[in-house]
Symmetry: C2
Subunit: 107 residues, 2 copies
Amino acid sequence: MDCVSTSKQLPQPDRDEIRVDAVLQALGEPVRLMIVRMLADTSEGIACGELELPVTASTRAHHLKMLRESGVVSTRTEGTRRISALRREDLDALYPGLLDGVLAAKQ
Amino acid sequence: MDCVSTSKQLPQPDRDEIRVDAVLQALGEPVRLMIVRMLADTSEGIACGELELPVTASTRAHHLKMLRESGVVSTRTEGTRRISALRREDLDALYPGLLDGVLAAKQ
DNA sequence: ATCGTACTACGATATTCATCGAACTTCGAC
DNA sequence: GTCGAAGTTCGATGAATATCGTAGTACGAT
C-alpha cells in the first residue's frame, strides 16, 4: 500500500457534517454514554480494549463506530490499537454547553 | 370521579427521577426534536393538535408521551386539550447547558 | 342525551439496533 | 514466514420502537 505513516485517522464527518440528531442518538445509549464519560476523563484517548464495559469486544467496536460516525469521537490507528478521543472542540463549537451538561449528570 | 379541578397534571418523573440516558434518547429522534424546538419558542406550551408535524395524531401522542415520561416536557389537561411545555427549569438544573446547546444547533 | 372535538390506548407491522460468536485483517514480535 | 494480540466485519437473533388505523375515553356545546 502507499501508506507512509504508521498512524492514520479513521474516516469521520467534518464539523459541518455533524447532525445534532445523530449526536443525541449516539449519546442516548447507556454503554456509549459510559464510553464518553471515560473519554472525558482523559486527554490522550483510550484504546478499544482498555474500555472496561459489560459487553463483548465486537459490541464495543460497534459502539465506537457509532460514536465516530456521528461525530462524537475521532479515532487514530497506532499499530494494532485504535485510540479514540472525544471531539470536544467540535462539539463545544457546534453545541456549546451540551457536552458539559451531559457530563454534569450525576449518573 | 373525585376530580374537582378542570385542569390536571399528567404523571411525570420528579426532577430527581430524570435519567440522562432517557432524556438524550428522547431528544435523539427527529420528530421529537422538532417538537422540543417548537416548545422552546413558546412559554405557555402547545396542544398536541397544534403541532404541525409529518406524522399522524396517534404518532404525535406517542412522541409526547415519550417526552413526558423521560422528563423533557410536562403536560396539563385543559378541557379536552393537553398542553405540553418544556421542563426548562428542571433540565437546566440537572444538565446546565444541554438544552441551550441542543437548541443552538442550526438544524 | 347527543354530537363533535381532542386525544389516548390498543393491536399490528416494519424497521432499527444492541448483542453475540465466528471469521477475517492488520500489525508487531520472534 | 509463523504466531499471537487487537480490532473489525459479518451474519443472526431478539428486543425496542416508530408508524399507522381503529376503537375508545373525556370533555364541551347544543
